[in-house]
Every structure is written in structure tokens, then in C-alpha cells.
Chain length 471, copies 2
């Protein structure tokens, strides 16, 4: 069968190391370990690293008004004076964050119709020079019919975007309003219109029937004040950090689930392979997704505590690992979404992307099957327009090796030795405070998970107490 | 609003006439008038016209075994000896026809999974050199689970494709079988999964749950023996004809509805504009779609009779018009399908494509609205990957001008003078044997239409007779 052959042909050889990274000093410390971003990165200094992959469109888009020069105050006044205000919901704010830092470069604001249509039909948009950049999910802002009529009635060309407390966050200018055909958007993004898609229920079903695009200018960096902002490094900050460490290859790993030693094995092995290929200092971008996730996913705060443990306990080498939060919300749109996950990491400086089995997949919301073919994500990613520069590294499957009592790459010649611990199984173990097999997860990381499930389901005693009271 | 600006920017200038067309003699006769294809074209001589647009992939694919040299007989024996046979349905045969003549160049057979996924996600597939060619609709062949198991059980690498009478038509070799996720295919192709999509009901709902791709070799040219085969010119034959006429521009007009004088006005005006641009001999490819259409569309045989009248009565100039049948079935997939309609015409030598309002659109099958935004087809077509070489000519709206008693381009400054005659209105007039306004359609064309509706609904007398019998 030709599929595998065609897939292998797509990137006949991985990129060879580029020229040297210049005169930077050796990597000396951990970027975010202990929860503090490096000072240089925190200042948002522009990337100087000539050796990192170019952002899409050639230049990293940054839409936050600069701190100096009075632009922030002026923009705040402008926003306050605008007669039309659109209130951002949670997911809207996450997209605004994404846009403001250039994860979606070269997009400079919420999509206008031409960009929306290109994303839906081609998973790619044409840049100013006619070349295609990948853009597989619509990044759009909805408004209702009354809002549309009010804006169009007085011919407004800009609107203020405000937070839940009505405070101005940004200005959207040179606006364009167009129809929000939800059915078509959903069908083309997810390949189904079945009810129960988490992102659809969260952000589309009750959204307005119109979309508004335009050029975005954000008053100040988006903060969540949840104790995790120090992990939210922008693409510019990440590029700065990779340059500081003299990375000559950056390999990104996206995940939204608890990290276990199988992941760690894969990441360590990837670094080894890159070293074998001749790279001198491959750096891992360990990049959990931080935006909207479905209700039964493990929350970001828990996952970040786990990530801290993985580094503290030395499961991953802090010298060659940068842990940061990817601020995007999650679509669970499988092959369509994995392109977005990969493309955004190019903008953060990654030239290698590790793709797993069934990336961004989930169960079909109404049928007893997976929504996507488990291999389609990898295949679609390898063929996607605008991602030609990115090296796709297919995930090697790791499982618990009962012969060696540790996580190991699956060896089909002795498959009876391997134990696959599904997410469901892992959750069930943690919920029941059972221990996982030795070496499945670092002890600190497991403890974090057990404590989380404890907080959801009160210990047995209190439950019994309640039963007694109820009886 | 930026949409229109972006659309105009896409093709900032139309292609200028190329170098001369060589030493060909002046166009002297009508290609298909009177129902006979020119002898040279009928022989399938390969295109020699250096000035015509290149086929996708650089070379026109032709998959019919050559007449000479014994290949047809050998292939027929090969097919007869193959243990696995798949019977082609009506729509399958139409696609086989399309593939065999290279309308879908560079495809060389029914899609394998990599091509299928690229068509669904990107509306484009990557050629051997890495460049993108447009390919927006899946061209696939389904089989059921029993067929799949039988083929895979003995490791077959080729299957025979047979007609309704079990006669071998083609061989599909180097086969690949993969899952047919109908829901995802439908959602990504139509942007809806609502029941009642004509192509879905005809060709997908009851099709097998697996798809088979491979390299196709067809035993002999596909014929329908319906009295219209002489209009079924292949891309190679059309290219030969355009070269013979010394065409220095070919503009294609796709339609599946009865042709009226508004269409004729548009085509005549397009030729005038091309002459003004400096082309010496722009030729129209008037190219009604001949494959599957929905039940309430006017049948091909009626439409072809109408087209003959349009030429006979001089509404269009036979010297600069080639009428031929496009053998593809109709998806009614709006912006997705219009790309296919345009792309296929590149392979036939057209470098200009006239796009109408809501091309390949239809009413939503379950809601009271159009399935697609009427402007999306034009917009998507203008941005589609792989169609950069094609000049898109947006349709100018024509309507009945009651002041001048003829079809005219709509003039918004005196909109009260214009009468829009919808397809529904036209059908209702023809059904009731009423006359349309003077100049709406040529008399012969109108007569053909009235006769068709007469044949569907018997004259009043016989209907009354039946009622009397029933009473």
C-alpha cells in the first residue's frame, strides 16, 4: 500500500544543522524552573537568533502597544472614546492573547472574510507575497445582529474590545463584518456537525450570527493572575530564550494531558536522535496547552505542578528543556487542529514538531468510535501547505515494559511484555489512590495527580459522613 | 470593508496575450455544430498548441489504452483474468471517464488516501515536484467490507473494474484500500451533513465503507451511446480544436441549466473584453455539465438541443464557440465544487473562467435558505491554491431590460427597469406554455424547453381524460 511510502517521501531527509549560532555564551541556567522567567525574556526583547526558523510571513507579529512612548495610554483613551464596545468571553480573550503575541503570524487581528474562507477551505492563507502560510482553524470574533446593526448604522470603522468588567483591552480597526455560518464552519473544521463538540458548545453555539475582523492593537500584555503567568512566554520571549541557550534545533512537544515517563522517554530519545544528526544543542520546548479544555481534562494548574515535578526530579534535563504555556484554546479538531499546534510553534522558533497518535483527537460525541482516524493527524500534518519548513517527527509509541519495569518504546517482537496504560486507566488509578507501576510517572507528578482527584471526590470518610447525615 | 479590495488584489491584472500562435490557418469552421466533431479532434491527436495554458502537472494525463499496438486486447485479457472485479455504478463510470481523459490531471486513477486527505483538507494535492495543484472534490471508488476482505485475503494488487453487464472496462493496479468515513467526507466537502444532498444520496449513502485507490488503465474510450457522444470531446481533443482555430485565449463557461440570452450576452461581452485586452482570437468553450444532476434539473439531452439552437440561430457566433460536454457528475458543493469546475477546464486548455453568482450552489436541503453564501464561490475560487494561472472573470449580472425589451447587464441606476427571471419562473412559464418576454431566449431554445415540460406533464386533455376515468 502506498500511504506509508508517500508519507515517508514527504520529508525525504530531515533538515541538517544550520550554520553556527554566533558568539552566544553557553546555556547556563534553566529558563522557567522554579517559576521565574528570565529577566531578558520578560522584557520581550526581539529575537536576535539568526539560526532559528523564520516566523510565518518573515516577521513575528506583535500587537501589544509598546510600554514606552505613551502609546498604551493613548490607546486606552482611544478605546474609551469609541462608541461601540464588544465584550470578550473567555475563549475570545485567549484568541486575543494568541493574536497579540504573534502565534498566528502573519495574522494581525481577528480574521476578515477572505482569511476565514481560506482557513476553512484550504487550511492556509496567502501572505502578501502570494505564498501560503498554514492557518487551519478560524480565529474569529462573533457578534450578534443588534451589535452589527448598531455598528453599521453609524458607519463605525473601529470598535473597542472590553473585558468582563467593561475595561478596554484592545481596539479593532478597519473592521469588516460578515456572516457567521456556524453549520458550515463546524462541518469544515471538525468534519462532523454532531452535537457535543466541546469547543462548539463553549464558543460557537451561543455566539452571534456575525463575525467581525480587523486590525488588532492590544493595550497591554494579557495576564491571567492565576499564579501561572510566568510560564506564559510569548514567541518573542521563547526565541530570545532559545538564542540565549544557543539552541541549534528546537523541538516542540504539545500536550494537554498529564505528562508521564513515556512522554519523557520520547523527548529524551528525540534529543538523542537530533544530536546523532549533528545538532550540537537541541532544546525541547515542552509546551502544554493553556487555554480552554473540555471539562474532564486535567486542569492547567495541576498539569503545570506536574511539569515542575518532572524537572525537579530530573526526569527531563532542565538544561535542555524550556517549559512554557501555549495560550491557545483547544478545538479537539484532530487533523485540522494539529496543523495549528505545529504552525504556532514555528512562530515560537521550533523547527521540529513531535506528532503523536491521534493528535487533538477525541471520541465521537454521539457515536461509539474515535472522531478521527488515529493516523490522519500525522498524515495531514506531513502534507499541509505552509508547513514545508517544519520537520515532523512521528511519535514513537511508548508503553510500560513489564520485563524491565519501566516505560519503554513498544517492541512488537515481544508485545506480551508491554502494558498500555490509557488515560482512563491512569485516571482510575489516581482516583482510587492506587499506585501506578514503578516508573510510569515520577513520584512527585503522581502525587499531584492523586491530590487533584482527591479534591474532586472527597475522601471516603467524609462521603460516609454525608451518607449518614442524609440517612 | 476589505473583502472586495482583497478580491480585486488577487489578480491585479489579467494575463496579457502571449506570443503568437504560430502558423496555423484561420479558423474556418464550427467544431461541433450539427453534431459532428471534427475528424482531427475525434482521432484524439495530442495537443501541439504551445500557446495554450499547460495542463496541471505539466502533462495531460491520458489513461485509455492506445488503439494501436495491441494494448487494448492485452488489457482486456488481463482484466478478464483478474480474480477480483468491482462493478461500476453510474457515477463511478462518469468519474472513470473524467480520470481516463485527464480532466483531473495529474491524477492517474481513483485517489489513494494521501490524495483523498489532501483534497478534503486543502482542496489541493501536491505534485511530484512539491507544487500544489488544485483538487477540491474527492474522486474515489467505494467498496464494501466483504469485497475488501476478499481482496486483502489473497494479497491482490490489482482489480478489474466492470460495467453493469460485467464487461471489463478498466484495470486498477497498485491498489490501496482505506476507510471511507462518509460523515467526515460529506462535512468537509459540503460544509453540512444535512440529509438530502443529491450527490450524497446518489453516490455516498449506500456506498461501501472502504475506498480503493490505484493506477487506472482504461480499455477503450468511454461511450454512452445516447446520441451525444460526438459532443464529448476530451481535453486533448479540445486542445487540438483550439489550436486548429488559432485561439490565443480560451474562456470557459460551465452551466448545468438551460442557456438563455443573458448567458449569451455575458459570453459575447467577455469575448469583446478579451479582444480589447489585445487577444486576437478568444474562443469560448461553452461547456455544459453532462454527468449526474439532481432530479429536477433539465436533462442533458434537452439542454444540448437548446445549445444547438443557440448556435443555429446565431445567438452565439459558431466561429468562436466550441460546444462540448463536460463529463463530470455534479456535486452541488458550491465553493468547493467550483474549483473543480475551473481546474478541469485548465486541463482542457482554458485560461479564463467565467464564474457566476452562487456557482454549484443549491437550496439548503433542510432549511429555508441557500446552502452557500452567493459570493463565496467567486471569492474561494479567486484564492484557491493551484489556480493561480487561471484568470477568473466574475459574472456580470444580466436581467431582462423592460425598457429595451432584451436581456441586458443590470444597471443599478435604473433598477426598476429590470426583471429577474429565476429558474423557477422560467420553468413555470415553460410548463404553462406561456411565452417568455421577447429576447429572453432564442425561439428554438424556448421551444425545446416547452416540449420537454410537455413530455413530463401530459397536455390538459389527456389529464382530464385520466380524471374522468378515475372518477
Amino acid at each position: 500500500m502506498a500511504t506509508q511510502a508517500a508519507f515517508a517521501v514527504r520529508f525525504p531527509q530531515l533538515a541538517r544543522p544550520g550554520r553556527g549560532q554566533g558568539q552566544g555564551q553557553p546555556a547556563a541556567r534553566v529558563a522557567v524552573r522554579g517559576g521565574r522567567a528570565p529577566a531578558a525574556a520578560a522584557r520581550g526583547v526581539r529575537c536576535r537568533a539568526g539560526g532559528l526558523i523564520e516566523p510565518d510571513g518573515g516577521r513575528l507579529v506583535e500587537l501589544v502597544a509598546p510600554e514606552k512612548g505613551g502609546r498604551r495610554a493613548a490607546l486606552r483613551r482611544e478605546a474609551a472614546a469609541l462608541p461601540h464596545r464588544l465584550r470578550l468571553g473567555r475563549v475570545d480573550t485567549e484568541w486575543l492573547h494568541v493574536l497579540s503575541e504573534g502565534w498566528a503570524s502573519p495574522l494581525r487581528g481577528f480574521m476578515r472574510e477572505t482569511e476565514f474562507l481560506q482557513a476553512l477551505h484550504f487550511n492556509a492563507v496567502r501572505g502578501g507575497d502570494g505564498s501560503l502560510v498554514n492557518m487551519s482553524v478560524p480565529i474569529v470574533l462573533a457578534l450578534d445582529d443588534a451589535q452589527r446593526r448598531a455598528i453599521q448604522a453609524d458607519g463605525a470603522t473601529a470598535v473597542a474590545l472590553v473585558d468582563a468588567h467593561d475595561r478596554p483591552v484592545a481596539v479593532l480597526s478597519d473592521i469588516e463584518i460578515y456572516k457567521h455560518n456556524k453549520e458550515e464552519r463546524i462541518a469544515r473544521t471538525w468534519g462532523t456537525t454532531a452535537r457535543g463538540l466541546p469547543y462548539v458548545e463553549e464558543a460557537i453555539t451561543n455566539a452571534g450570527d456575525w463575525l467581525i475582523g480587523g486590525d488588532l492593537e492590544v493595550i497591554e500584555p494579557i495576564k491571567y493572575n492565576d499564579g501561572l503567568d510566568q510560564y506564559r512566554l510569548s514567541p518573542a520571549q521563547l526565541r530570545e530564550e532559545f538564542a540565549r541557550r544557543n539552541a541549534d534545533a528546537v523541538f516542540a512537544f504539545q500536550l494537554r494531558n498529564p505528562v508521564h515517563n513515556g512522554h519523557a522517554l520520547l523527548m529524551t530519545d528525540t534529543r538523542r536522535r537530533l544530536l546523532e544528526m549533528g545538532y550540537k544543542n537541541p532544546v525541547l520546548l515542552l509546551h502544554p496547552l493553556g487555554g480552554f479544555t473540555k471539562a474532564d481534562d486535567v486542569p492547567l494548574s495541576v498539569r503545570m505542578k506536574q511539569h515542575e515535578k518532572v524537572l525537579e526530579e530530573g526526569v527531563l534535563n532542565p538544561e535542555s528543556t524550556v517549559v512554557a504555556i501555549f495560550p491557545s484554546p483547544m478545538h479537539y479538531a484532530g487533523p485540522t487542529e494539529v496543523q495549528w499546534h505545529a504552525k504556532a510553534r514555528i512562530n515560537a522558533g521550533a523547527n521540529f514538531y513531535i506528532v503523536g497518535r491521534d493528535p487533538a483527537g477525541m471520541g465521537h460525541p454521539t457515536e461509539k468510535r474515535d472522531l478521527y482516524d488515529a493516523d490522519h493527524g500525522k498524515k495531514v500534518l506531513s502534507m499541509a501547505p505552509g508547513l514545508e519548513r517544519l520537520n515532523i517527527l512521528p511519535f514513537k509509541v511508548a508503553a510500560y515494559d513489564t520485563k524491565h519495569n519501566k516505560m519503554n518504546f513498544f517492541d512488537p517482537s515481544r508485545k506480551e511484555d508491554f502494558l498500555f496504560i490509557s488515560g482512563t486507566k491512569m485516571r482510575s488509578l489516581a482516583k482510587n489512590r492506587e499506585s501506578p507501576p514503578d516508573g510510569f510517572m515520577c513520584p512527585g507528578g503522581w502525587k499531584v495527580l492523586v491530590e487533584y482527584y482527591d479534591s474532586l471526590a472527597p475522601p471516603e470518610g467524609s462521603s460516609k459522613l454525608r451518607e449518614a447525615v442524609a440517612a
